[in-house]
C-alpha cells in the first residue's frame, strides 16, 4: 500500500468542513491544511476539492467571501455556516462510530 491516498468517497465533505473549523480559508489553504494535519497521508486533489466546495456552498453548509489576499489579489475565502457546524457535528459522530466499528472488526481478525 502507498503512503498517501486519495480521499475515500464521501469523507471529503467531512474533511473540508473539519478544516474550516479553524477559521475561514481559501481553497488552496484548505487542501494544504488537510495535507498537513493528516501528515500527508490524505491528499485532496484540487479537481475534487473545488466542486466539493461549491456543492457545500449550494447546500448552505459553507459560505464564501471575496477578500484581498496578502499579495493584493482577489481570493475566495470559505467559512462554516451555522448549518455547516451542525452538520459537521453529526458527520463527526457518525465517523467516530464508523471507525470504531471498523477498528473493532480489524482487531477481532
Amino acid at each position: 500500500m502507498a503512503d498517501s491516498r486519495e480521499v475515500v468517497q464521501g469523507t471529503l465533505d467531512l474533511l473540508v468542513l473539519s478544516s474550516l473549523r479553524a477559521g475561514s480559508m481559501h481553497g488552496w489553504g484548505i487542501a494544504q491544511r488537510i495535507r498537513d494535519r493528516s501528515s500527508e497521508t490524505v491528499l485532496v486533489t484540487t479537481g475534487a476539492l473545488y466542486p466539493a466546495l461549491h456543492r457545500l456552498e449550494e447546500r448552505r453548509l459553507v459560505r464564501s467571501k471575496w477578500q484581498v489576499s496578502e499579495s493584493n489579489r482577489r481570493a475566495r475565502y470559505y467559512e462554516l455556516t451555522a448549518a455547516g457546524r451542525k452538520a459537521l457535528g453529526a458527520e463527526v459522530e457518525w465517523w467516530t462510530r464508523f471507525t470504531a466499528g471498523v477498528a473493532g472488526v480489524i482487531a477481532a481478525t
Binding site: 481559501h26 488552496w28 494544504q32 484540487t46 473545488y50 466542486p51 447546500r59 489576499s69 481570493a75 452538520a87
Partner: protein, 875 residues
Amino acid sequence: MFRRLWSATLALFRRRQLEHDIDDELRDHLERDIAFRIARGASPAEARRLAAADLGGLERTRDDVRDVRFLTHVDDLRRDVRFTLRRLARSPAYTALVIVTIGLGVGASTTVFTVIDGVLLKPLPFRSPGELVTLWQTRTTEGMRRDDVPPATFLDWQERARTIATMAAADPWGVTFRRDGSSEHVNAWRVSDGFFAVLDARPWLGRTFRPEDFLPGSTPVVLLDHGFWQRRLGGDPRIVGRSLTFDDGPHLVVGVMPPNFEMPERTNLWQPWVPDSAQRVERFATYMKVFGRMRPGASVADVQAELSTIARSMEGEFPRSNRGVGVSIVSLEDVIIGGRRPLLWTLLGAALVLLFVTVVNVGALHLTRLDRQHRETSVRLALGARRSAIVRPLLVEAFVLALTGGALGAAAGAVGVRVLHVLGPVDLPRLVDVTLDWRAVVMSALFALVAGASLAIVSARRASSQTHEGAPGTRGMTGSRRGTRLRRVAVGLQLALSLVLLIGTSLLVRSFLQVLSADRGYRTENTLSFSTWIYDEYPAVAPREQFVRNVLERLRALPGVTHVAIGSALPLADQITGEDADVVMEGTAVVAGEEPQARGIAVWPSYFETLGTAVRQGRAFLPSDDAGSERVVVVNEAFVRRFSPDRDPVGRMVSVGLMGRGIPSRIVGVVADTRHARLDGPPEPGVYLPWLQRPIEAITFIVRTAGDPDAVAPLVPRTVFDVDPRVALDRMATLDALLAQHLRERTFLLVLLGVFGALAVVVACVGVFGVMSQAVTERRREIAVRMALGAAPQRILGEFAREAGWMAAGGVIAGVLVAAGGTTVISRYLYNVARFDPLALGASIATVTGLALLAALVPSLRAARTPPASVIHRD
C-alpha cells in the same frame, strides 16, 4: 424547493459573473501553488507544470465546478420527482384518493369561478360600459321603484338632461312574420334614433339604423337578431338588402346584430321608433326602456341629481300624470347582472367550502401517511440524513399530487361548465358566452397550488419537528399523540363544513317543496296554453268575438280536450301575467292618478273552471255577462282582504280602470287567490273582468286535456289557421313547462348546492374512515393484548364507536354554529321556512352523523375482530 429553483434561475442569469469568479478562484489557487513549489525549491517552469497537473487540467476543474453550480438544483429536483413518483406508485390507493379529492375541490371551484368570471367579472361587451345607465320612472307612493317610462316623459328627459350625452329608448313591440303561408308572432323592439350609438353596438352584417330610417315615408326597415336569422332564415349570408314580410308589408333587412346582443332583452328584431302624436303626449302608460350614456366625468349620482330636479319640475308642469313621479338611475351593469350576484356568490362560497373540505381531508390523509413513514424517517435521521433531504421529497410529493389533482380539476371544470349550460337559469345573463378559458386554467392552477402549499406546510412542520431519538428502540408504534389529535380536529372540521352545506341544501329543499305545494290557486297539469295578438286582424269587436268563439269551439272538439278558455293573461307566463288596473271601491275618495291598483285580467266564462280556480263566494262569470248586461267583476281573496275587509264584497260596486278610464262594476263573486308572477310571494289583489265586456286584443288560449297535453299541441296551429290563417301564434307551452322554467333558478341553486354538499359529506366520511383506520392500526397491539386477556369484542367496538361519536358531535356543534351565520346568504331563497327549521337541521345532522358513524364502523369492526395472537406473533 422554491429556493432551489430560484437560485438555479438566478445562476442562469448570472452565468457570466459566476464563470468569471470560478476563473479567478482557480487562477488564485494556481499562483499560490506555484509560489509554494518554488519556495520548496522547484524551478519556476517545473513548479508551473506540476501545479497545473495537480489542478487536474484547469478546464476540466472549471467545468466540474460550473456543473455543480447549475446541475445540483436540476439534479436534485429531478431526483426528488423520480423518487416521489416511485413512492406514490407504491401506494396507488392513497395517490388516487388524494388526486381525485383535490380534483373534486378544484373542479367545483373552477366551474363556479368560470361562470362568475364570465357573468360578473368580464366587462360588458360595450365601449366604456361604466358610462351606460338605465333610467326608470318611480312612483314611490305605490311602491313602484323601477317602472318603465311613458314615451312623452322619455322625450322630455332626452331634451332636458345635460349629464347624459346621448339617450335612447326602446318600445316593446310585436309583429307578425308571414312566410310561405304561415304566420308567426315575433317579438320586436322599436328603438329611437341613436339607440345603437348609445350602446356603441356594431352589426354582425350590414348596418344599424340611420337617421333617414326615422323620417316619415321612408322605406320600412328591420334589423335582425342573430338567433332569429339563424333559426328562421337559415343564416342566409345574403339576407341584407332582401325584403321580408312583417305584418302587412315588405320590410327591408338592413343588417343582422351579433350573437348574444340582447338589448334591451332577448328579441327577434329591431325597428325604428318614431313617436306618433298620441305618444308625444302620453305620460301615463309606462312601457319604454330608456338608456343613456353619461357625459365623461359624470357619475350616476350626478345624473340622478339632475334628473330628479327635472322630474320635480315636471311634477309641476303635468300635475295630473306626474304627481309623485320620480326617476331612478341604475347603471346598466347592475340591471343586467345585479340580481344574479347573490346567487353566484353563494355558489362560489359553497364551492370554496368544498375546496376547503377537500384540502383539509387531503391534509389529514397526508398526515396519516407521514406517520406511517415515521419509522423510516426516524431511522434516516438517526443515520445522519439531512433534514432538508427528508423534507424536500415531501414537498415535491405535495406539489406533484396537488398539480395532478389540479389538472384533473381543470378537466372536471370543463365538464362542469357544460353541465351548467344545460342546468343554468335561461335568463342568467351571458351564461351562453361562458367557456373554460385560460383565466379558468390559471384559477385551477392557483386553487391547486393553495392545496399543494397546505400539504407542504403540514409535511414540513411535521418532518422538521420529528426527532430521531429512540427511533430504533421503539417497536411498531407509529404516530404521535399530537398528530392524532390534529387529524381528529381536521375530520371534525370537514364534518362541520359539510354539515353547513347540507343544512343550506335542506333548507332550499324545504323551500322548494313549500313553493311547489303552496296553494297556487290553479292547476298546471294537463294544461296547454298559447297566445295571439289580433289588433290588426280584428279591429272591430263583433268579428273579434266571433273569431274567439270559433277557435274555442274547434279546440273543444279536438280529441282529449275537456275544457277551453281564454284570458288576457296567464299565470306564470312572464310579461303577460296581468295588467295593472286602477280600482276604487264605492264610497272611497281617491285623488286622480293615485288610484290603488290590482292585477286585472279579462277572462272567458269558463276560465276559472279550466284553470281549476275555486269560486269561494258568489258566482263565476256566465255567458250572459256580455256587453249588453250590467258591468260585473270577480275579485280574489287578497282583493277582499285589502279593499273590503269588513264587508261582504259580493254586490258592492267598484270602479275598475283596465287600460283606460274607470268603469263602475258590480262584484258578483270571489275566487281563490292565485300566485301569478311570483310563486314565492304573497298573492296580490286581483280583479277579473268578463272578456265579453272588455274584449282585449291580447289573448291567451288555455286548453285542458284529459291526457298528455303535448299530444294535443301539434293539432293546435291547424285548428287556429283553419279559422283564420292570418293570426300568429306564440308561446305555446304547457303550464307544467312554464312552472319548471319558473323554478329554474331555485332548481339550479338547489342542485349545485346539493352536489357540493353531497361531495363534501363523502369526502368527510373518507376522512373519518382514514382516521379511524389509523387509530385501529395504532392500537392493534393493545387491542390484541386486551382481547387475549378476555376483553369482549363488543367493548372494543364500543370504544371506537364512542371515539367516532365524539368526532361527529364536535363536527355537528361547530357546523350548526357556522350554519347559524352562514345561511343568511341564502335567506332570499327561503320561503315559508325558518333559517333554523328543525326538520332541515335535524335531517342534515342525522345524515352527517349517520354517515360518519357508518364510515367509522368498518375499521372498528376490524378492530373488534382482531385475532389476539396474530399481532403479538408478527412483531
